[in-house]
C-alpha cells in the first residue's frame, strides 16, 4: 500500500515522455524564450539578475583600467547563464507536466458535439460549448466536456483520463452521474449537461497548474516571494552604499564587481528554482492521477491535522468477508467446511463468494459440478440460502433464521458455540450459522476486512502528527471494533452528512486543518467545508464541484499521497531557501577581500579560501552561483523526501543538510572553481 499508485497504461494511449532526456531540448529553447522581461516579472529575483546582466554587458564596451574586458565579458556571460539556468529549470518542470497533459488531451482537437437546441440537435465544435448546454452522446463517441448525465444510462470508457480500461456505468440521478470530457461512451447513449466553460474543464485546470506563465502562485509561495524580494532589497542597499563608503576611504570600486557581489548575495538559488519546485509538485500530483483545482489545496494538505476517511472502500474492502469458521461440539472440521462450501457454492453475493474463496484457499474438498447441486436461493421468507446435494441438505443464514429453521431455541445452542457467536457479534462482525441435514454444524465469522497495510499507513501519519478519523454509518460497537483493528484515532459512528459537517467545523474552530474525501452528493457540504476535500472521479458532480481535489482513480487512500506531496513541496522550498541564504557567508569571504584589498591591503586576511586573485575570486563566486542552480534542478524537480517523523527530528535533519551544508558547500565549491579557472587560464 505504500507504493505509489502509477496509472495503468492502456494500449490506445501513448505513454507521455517525461524523462529529462526527452525534454531537455525543448526546455533549452524555452529557456531563451523566457528571457522576455515580461515573463520574468513573475520571478523578481531573476528579473534583477537579468537587469544586472544587461548592465554588465553594456559595461563590457566601456573600458575600465581596473577591470580587463576579458573578465567583464566572462562575468556578463555567467550572469546570462544564471538567468538561463533558472529558466531552464522552470521549462523542464513545465515540459514534464505538459507532456502528460498533452497526451491526455490528444484526440480532443476538432471534436464535435451534438448540442440540443430546442427540440433539435445541432452539430457544433466541442470548444464552443458553454456551461448549461445539453449534448447527446452516442455509443462510440467522445464526451465533449465535463458534465452531468441528465438522461440515459451508458457504459463509459474513462481510460484516457484514469488509465483504467474497464468501462464504468454512468446514469442520471444518483451517485454515478458525473462524466468527464474526452472519455468514450461504449454502449447506449447519454444526454449530458455541460458543467464547465471552455478553459475550465478538469483537463484545462490540470494544464494550468503546470504552466509557468499561467500558474497561480500558492499562498506560501507568495509569502516566500515577498521575503526573497525583501532580501534582494536589503542586499541592493548593502551593495549600493559600498561605493560611498569606499570613496570615504579614498578607494573606488569597479561597477562590474559590485554587480557581481549583488548577484551572488541575492537569493538566486531559491529565486531561480521556486517556480520549478511549484510546477514539479503539481506534476507529481498529476502523475498520481489527482487533479488539484488550485495549488492552495496541495499546500494545505501539508498542514493537515485531521484526516476524515470513509470506512467503506478506504479502510476496509467495503463488504463483509468470511474470516473464520467455528464448529459445534461433536462436528469434525471437514464436516463443517464441506457443508459450508456446498451451502455457499451457488451463492452469488459478495459474502457467499468470500466464503468460497476462504475455503478454496484451505483446499478442503474436491468441488462437485455446479449442475449436480440444487441451489436454494435466499428468500425473504426463510432468510436462508444453501443447496441440496446428493440427498443432503445444507443451509446457512443469520443466527435467528437458522435456529428457526432447525426449530431450536437460542439456549439450546451448545455453550462453546454460543460463546463464539457472542464474540463475533461483539467484535463488530456478523455471525452466520451453518446447518446440515437439520443439524447445527457451526458458525461462520463474517467481518468487514481491513485493507492490508492500512494500519502501517495510519501509524506513519500519526508519526507526522496527523490524526485519522474514521467515518462510518455502522453502529458504534461495530465501528469501534474496526477502528481498533485499523488503528485509527477516532470514529464517527452512525455518521450523517450533518454530523460530518459538524465535526469538520468543530475541528476547524480549534484551529485545525481538516482533510476529507467523499463521493456522494451528501458529502458535498463537508467536502466544501474541509480545507482539503478530495472527491472521487466516479462520484457525483456535486462532490466534484465542492472538492478542491479530484482523484481520477477514485481511490480514497490517495489522500495520504496528497499529504505527502504537499509536505514535500514545502520542505523543498524551505530547504533551498535556507541553503541559498547560508551560501552568502562564503560568497562574502570570496568577494569582500577581493573588493577591499585595493583600499586596505590588510583585509586580504579575510581571504580564508586563499583564492588566487581578486579577479579569480569574483569570477569563481559568480560561476558557483550559476552552477549551483543547475546542480539543484534534479532536487527541485524530484522534491526533498519527507520521512514520517516528528517535526523536531525532521527539522534537525534538514537543518544539518541544507543549513550547515549551505554554509560549507560554497567554500569548497568556490575554491575548486578557482583552482580550475586558474588552471585553464581564464583569469
Amino acid at each position: 500500500m505504500n507504493a505509489r499508485i502509477e496509472p495503468a497504461l492502456n494500449s490506445a494511449q501513448q505513454h507521455p515522455k517525461t524523462s529529462i532526456a526527452a525534454l531537455w531540448k525543448p526546455a533549452l529553447r524555452q529557456a531563451f524564450v523566457k528571457l522576455d522581461p515580461r515573463q520574468l516579472l513573475r520571478s523578481p529575483v531573476m528579473l534583477v539578475v537579468e537587469l544586472t546582466a544587461v548592465v554588465t554587458t553594456v559595461l563590457c564596451f566601456i573600458p575600465n583600467p581596473q577591470v580587463s574586458t576579458g573578465l567583464a565579458v566572462q562575468i556578463a556571460l555567467w550572469l546570462w547563464f544564471t538567468v538561463l539556468f533558472a529558466n531552464f529549470a522552470e521549462a523542464l518542470a513545465e515540459g514534464r507536466g505538459k507532456a502528460r497533459a498533452d497526451s491526455l488531451k490528444a484526440g480532443s482537437q476538432g471534436l464535435n458535439a451534438r448540442r440540443k437546441n430546442g427540440q433539435q440537435f445541432e452539430t457544433v465544435a466541442a470548444s464552443s460549448l458553454r456551461r448549461g448546454d445539453i449534448v447527446r452522446v452516442e455509443a462510440g463517441e467522445l464526451i465533449p466536456g465535463d458534465g452531468e448525465v441528465v438522461e440515459g444510462i451508458a457504459t463509459v470508457n474513462e481510460a484516457a483520463i484514469t488509465g483504467e480500461s474497464a468501462p464504468v456505468i454512468r446514469e442520471s440521478g444518483g451517485d454515478r452521474s458525473a462524466v468527464t470530457g474526452n472519455t468514450r461512451v461504449v454502449s447506449d447513449w447519454l444526454l449530458v449537461q455541460i458543467t464547465a466553460n471552455p478553459g475550465e474543464s478538469t483537463l484545462d485546470r490540470m494544464i494550468a497548474l503546470v504552466e509557468g506563465a499561467k500558474r497561480q502562485k500558492t499562498p506560501n509561495e507568495v509569502a516566500l516571494d515577498i521575503l526573497l524580494i525583501g532580501l534582494t532589497l536589503i542586499f541592493l542597499l548593502v551593495v549600493a552604499t559600498l561605493q560611498p563608503f569606499a570613496r570615504f576611504a579614498d578607494g573606488d570600486l569597479p561597477l562590474v564587481y559590485l554587480v557581481a557581489l549583488l548577484v551572488t548575495l541575492i537569493p538566486t538559488t531559491i529565486g531561480g528554482l521556486l517556480s520549478a519546485i511549484g510546477i514539479a509538485g503539481m506534476d507529481r500530483l498529476v502523475r498520481l492521477n489527482v487533479i488539484a483545482k488550485s495549488g492552495r489545496a496541495v499546500e494545505a494538505a501539508g498542514d493537515v491535522h485531521v484526516l476524515l476517511l470513509d470506512k467503506t472502500g478506504t479502510i476496509t474492502f467495503g463488504n463483509r468477508r468470511c474470516s473464520a469458521l467455528y464448529k459445534a461440539p461433536g462436528v469434525s472440521g471437514k464436516q463443517l467446511s464441506d457443508a459450508t462450501l456446498l451451502a455457499s457454492l451457488a451463492d452469488d453475493t459478495a459474502e457467499g463468494k468470500s466464503i468460497v474463496e476462504y475455503l478454496r484457499a484451505l483446499n478442503t474438498m474436491v468441488e462437485p459440478e455446479r449442475s449436480a447441486i440444487k441451489s436454494i436461493a435466499f428468500s425473504a421468507e426463510t432468510r436462508l440460502s444453501g443447496a441440496d446435494y446428493n440427498g443432503h441438505s445444507y443451509r446457512k443464514g443469520a443466527v435467528d433464521a437458522v435456529l428457526l429453521y432447525l426449530g431450536i431455541e437460542r439456549s439450546d445452542v451448545p455453550p462453546v458455540l454460543a460463546r463464539e457467536i457472542e464474540k463475533i457479534a461483539q467484535s463488530g462482525g456478523t455471525p452466520l450459522l451453518v446447518a446440515g441435514d437439520g443439524q447445527l454444524l457451526g458458525a461462520i465469522h463474517l467481518k468487514d476486512v481491513v485493507k492490508p497495510g492500512i494500519r502501517e499507513r495510519f501509524a506513519e501519519l500519526r508519526a507526522m502528527g496527523i490524526r485519522t478519523v474514521m467515518v462510518t454509518g455502522d453502529n458504534p460497537l461495530t465501528a469501534a471494533a474496526i477502528a481498533a483493528e485499523a488503528g485509527v484515532d477516532d470514529v464517527i459512528a452512525e455518521a450523517t452528512p450533518e454530523k460530518k459537517l459538524q465535526r469538520i467545523r468543530s475541528e476547524q474552530a480549534e484551529g485545525k486543518m481538516v482533510a476529507m474525501c467523499g463521493d456522494g452528493a451528501n458529502d458535498a457540504p463537508a467536502l466544501a467545508q474541509a480545507d482539503v476535500g478530495l472527491a472521487m472521479n466516479d462520484g457525483t458532480q456535486a462532490a466534484r464541484e465542492a472538492a478542491n481535489l479530484v482523484d481520477l482513480d477514485s481511490d480514497p487512500t490517495k489522500l495520504l499521497d496528497v499529504v505527502q506531496v504537499g509536505k514535500e513541496l514545502l520542505v523543498t522550498r524551505g530547504a533551498l531557501t535556507t541553503f541559498s541564504v547560508a551560501n552568502d557567508v562564503a560568497k562574502y569571504f570570496a568577494i569582500l577581500p577581493a573588493l577591499f584589498t585595493g583600499i586596505y591591503p590588510q583585509l586580504g586576511a579575510l581571504n580564508l579560501m586563499q583564492l588566487h586573485s581578486p579577479q579569480s575570486a569574483i569570477l569563481s563566486a559568480i560561476v558557483f552561483n550559476a552552477l549551483i542552480i543547475v546542480a539543484l534542478i534534479p532536487l527541485a524537480l524530484r522534491g526533498v523526501r519527507v520521512q514520517a517523523a516528528d517535526a523536531a527530528s525532521l527539522l534537525r535533519r534538514n537543518l544539518l543538510i541544507y543549513g550547515l551544508g549551505g554554509l560549507v558547500a560554497p567554500f569548497v565549491g568556490i575554491k575548486l572553481i578557482d583552482l580550475l579557472l586558474v588552471a585553464v587560464g581564464l583569469v
Binding site: 515577498i226 521575503l227 525583501g230 498542514d303 491535522h305 524551505g574 586596505y600
Partner: protein, 566 residues
C-alpha cells in the same frame, strides 16, 4: 583578569537573572489588570488617571485605533518637548539662566527622548535647565519605555489571543506600564543611588575654591531620580555630559553594579512576561538562552579585546595591563567592557567609558550589538519585540522544512505578516547604511569625524547605528551637534522607532485575528537547543550579511592595520 573581575560579572548576572522570573510574572499581572501587592496603593491613582483623561479602561481597541492613539501621544510628546527645549530660557527652575536650544538641536533632542533613544548632541550641565531635565526629558524617560512595553504587550496578546479583533487599550497599557512597571523600581534604585552619594537637589551649582587657587563650578541637580529611570527605562540620557563616567552620576563600585544591572533588569524580566502571555515558559527560556549566548559572546570578545596590550605601544618600555585609554580609572577595564556590552545589547546608551577609545574590536562589538537591531535584551519592550521579529523570520526561513506552512505558537505566518516583517528588516539597512552613506559622501557632514581613515568611518557608522537602533550611546570625537547630523540622526531615530512599532502593531493585529492551531509533535518546535541555535544563527546571519562589508571598512580594517602594521 583578576578574581574581582569575575566576581563583578557573576554579581551582574545574579542581579539580572534571579529576579527576572518574578518581575516578569508581576509585569504580566499588572499589564492584564490583575491584583498585585501594590494595587491597594496604586489602583486609586490609576483610576484617577483614567477619570481625568476620560478613558474607559474596559474598552479595548483594534490595532489601528491603538496605533493612532500611540501616534497621537507621540506627536503631542514631541511637540511639547520641542517647545520646552526652545523656551527653557523663559521657563522656571533655571537657576543657571540657560538659554533655549538651537532648533535643530531641540528637534534632535525631542526626537531622541520620545523614541527612547536618548542620543545626546547636547551636554546636560551646560545646556539643560532643571525644568527641561525633569519636566521635559524626565517625563519622556518614563513614557517612552512605557510605550515600548505597551507595544510588546500588544504583540504578546496578538500571539496569545484567538480570533480576536482587539489588542488592548493604549491609554490603559501606557498608564499601567508607567505606574506599576517603572515607578516602583525607579523609587528603589533612586534611593540606593542616593545612599551611594548621587545628588538629588534643586540647589544651584556650587562654586569651589580649588587648592590651585582657581574657582571651579560643580554642577548639581536632581540627578538620582533621573539616573534611576535612565537605567531602568533603557533611556541612557545622562544627567551630566559624560554620563555614568561622572563621579556624581556613578560614585562607587556599588552604584556602578546597580546601574549596569538595572539596564537589563526589566528587559530580561519581560521574557517571562511573554511566557505568561503564551502560557509556555519554555518559550521564555529558549529566548533567554539565545540572548545569553549572544550577550556572552559579545562580552567575552570585548573583554578579550580590551585586556589585550596595544601592539603600537609594545615596543615602548611600558607595562600594559589592558587598554585603559578613555576609561574611568575608578572602574577599570572589566567594568567598562561589561557596561559597554550591556548598554549596547540593551538599547540603553548610557556609558561609563568612551567607546571611541576602545580597541578596534572592542568598539566593533558594541556597534554590532546595535546593528542586530537591539535584540539582545534590548530596550524595555522594544528588545523583545525585535527579538520576536527574528523568531518569526527564523520560523519562516526554516519552518517550511518540517513540511508545514510556517507558524509560530500556532499562528500561521502568511503573505501579510511576511510583508510587514520585510518592512522591519529594511529599517536598519536604510537607517545605518543609506543615511551613513549620505553622511560619508557629503563633504560637510563627513568632516565631523575627528580621525581620518577607518576609525573616522567607524565614528560615522557607530553614531548612525546608535540613532537607528535607538541606542543613544556615542562614539566620541564625532561632532554630532551640526544642523545636518541633528536632522539626519533625528530621522534615523524616528525610522528606527516607528519603522518597527507600526509594522509590529499591524502584525499583532493580524495574528490576534487568526485562529491558533494546536501545538503538538508536528508543529515547529520553538524551544530547546535546536531552535536556540537556529535563532542565534539567523540573527547573526541577518546582521552579519547586512553589515559585514561596512564593518570591514571600519573596525575590521582598523584592527587588521593595528595588528599587522602598515
Amino acid at each position: 583578569m583578576h578574581s574581582y573581575d569575575f566576581t563583578l560579572i557573576l554579581a551582574f548576572f545574579v542581579l539580572v537573572l534571579l529576579p527576572a522570573p518574578f518581575i516578569g510574572r508581576y509585569l504580566y499581572r499588572v499589564m492584564e489588570g490583575e491584583k498585585t501587592w501594590l494595587s491597594p496603593v496604586l489602583q486609586p491613582v490609576e483610576r484617577l488617571c483614567y477619570r481625568i483623561a476620560g478613558v474607559d479602561s474596559n474598552r479595548e481597541q483594534d490595532w489601528k485605533t491603538y496605533s493612532l492613539a500611540l501616534l497621537a501621544f507621540t506627536l503631542i510628546s514631541l511637540l511639547t518637548l520641542f517647545a520646552i527645549l526652545m523656551l527653557q530660557g523663559s521657563l522656571p527652575l533655571n537657576p543657571q539662566q540657560l538659554p533655549g536650544l538651537e532648533w535643530t538641536l531641540a528637534f534632535n533632542t525631542a526626537v531622541s527622548f520620545v523614541t527612547n533613544t536618548n542620543w545626546q548632541a547636547y551636554s546636560g550641565e551646560a545646556q539643560m535647565s532643571y525644568f527641561s531635565q525633569m519636566v521635559g526629558l524626565g517625563v519622556q524617560n518614563f513614557v517612552s519605555p512605557a510605550v515600548g512595553l505597551a507595544v510588546l504587550v500588544v504583540f504578546c496578546r496578538g500571539i496569545a489571543r484567538r480570533s480576536s479583533n482587539s489588542v488592548g487599550n493604549f491609554w490603559v497599557d501606557l498608564t499601567r506600564a508607567t505606574l506599576y512597571g517603572l515607578l516602583p523600581f525607579c523609587l528603589v534604585l533612586a534611593l540606593l543611588l542616593v545612599w551611594q552619594g548621587v545628588p538629588q537637589t534643586f540647589l544651584e551649582y556650587v562654586t569651589a575654591h580649588t587648592i590651585g587657587g582657581t574657582d571651579q563650578v560643580v554642577p548639581l541637580g536632581p540627578a538620582a531620580s533621573q539616573i534611576a529611570i535612565k537605567q531602568l527605562g533603557t533611556n541612557g540620557g545622562g544627567f551630566f555630559g559624560v554620563n555614568s563616567a561622572h563621579p556624581f552620576e556613578n560614585p562607587t563600585a556599588w552604584s556602578n553594579l546597580f546601574e549596569v544591572a538595572s539596564i537589563i533588569l526589566i528587559p530580561a524580566a519581560l521574557l517571562f512576561t511573554f511566557g505568561h502571555y503564551v502560557k509556555d515558559l519554555r518559550q521564555s527560556r529558549a529566548l533567554l538562552a539565545c540572548m545569553l549566548i549572544l550577550f556572552s559572546v559579545g562580552l567575552g570578545g570585548t573583554l578579550y579585546a580590551e585586556h589585550q596590550p596595544n601592539p603600537a605601544l609594545a615596543a615602548l618600555p611600558i607595562e600594559q595591563s589592558g587598554s585603559l585609554e578613555g576609561k574611568e580609572s575608578r572602574f577599570g577595564t572589566t567594568a567598562s567592557a561589561l557596561w559597554a556590552v550591556t548598554t549596547t545589547a540593551a538599547s540603553n546608551g548610557s556609558v561609563n567609558a568612551m567607546h571611541d577609545s576602545f580597541s578596534a574590536l572592542g568598539g566593533m562589538i558594541p556597534m554590532f550589538n546595535m546593528m542586530l537591531g537591539e535584540v539582545i535584551f534590548g530596550g524595555v519592550g522594544a528588545g523583545l519585540y525585535g527579538m520576536l521579529l527574528f523568531v518569526l523570520i527564523a520560523v519562516f526561513l526554516a519552518g517550511l522544512m518540517i513540511g508545514r506552512t510556517p507558524e509560530y505558537l500556532g499562528k500561521k505566518l502568511e503573505a501579510r505578516e511576511v510583508r510587514l516583517l520585510v518592512a522591519t528588516l529594511l529599517v536598519m539597512p536604510v537607517g545605518v547604511l543609506v543615511l551613513g552613506a549620505l553622511a560619508a559622501s557629503l563633504p560637510g557632514p563627513a568632516s565631523s569625524v575627528s580621525n581620518p581613515g577607518a576609525h573616522g568611518f567607524s565614528q560615522i557608522l557607530y553614531n548612525y547605528t546608535s540613532g537607528a537602533a535607538n541606542n543613544g550611546s556615542a562614539f566620541g570625537g564625532f561632532g554630532a551637534n551640526t544642523p545636518y547630523h541633528n536632522l539626519m540622526i533625528g530621522l534615523a531615530m524616528l525610522l528606527g522607532r516607528f519603522g518597527y512599532i507600526l509594522p509590529i502593531l499591524a502584525i499583532a493585529g493580524s495574528l490576534a485575528a487568526k485562529k491558533r492551531a494546536p501545538v503538538g509533535s508536528n508543529s515547529f518546535p520553538t524551544h530547546g537547543p535546536l531552535f536556540v541555535t537556529l535563532l542565534t544563527l539567523t540573527i547573526l546571519l541577518v546582521g552579519g550579511l547586512t553589515f559585514l562589508p561596512a564593518l570591514a571598512l571600519g573596525p575590521i580594517a582598523e584592527h587588521m592595520t593595528m595588528f599587522q602594521g602598515f
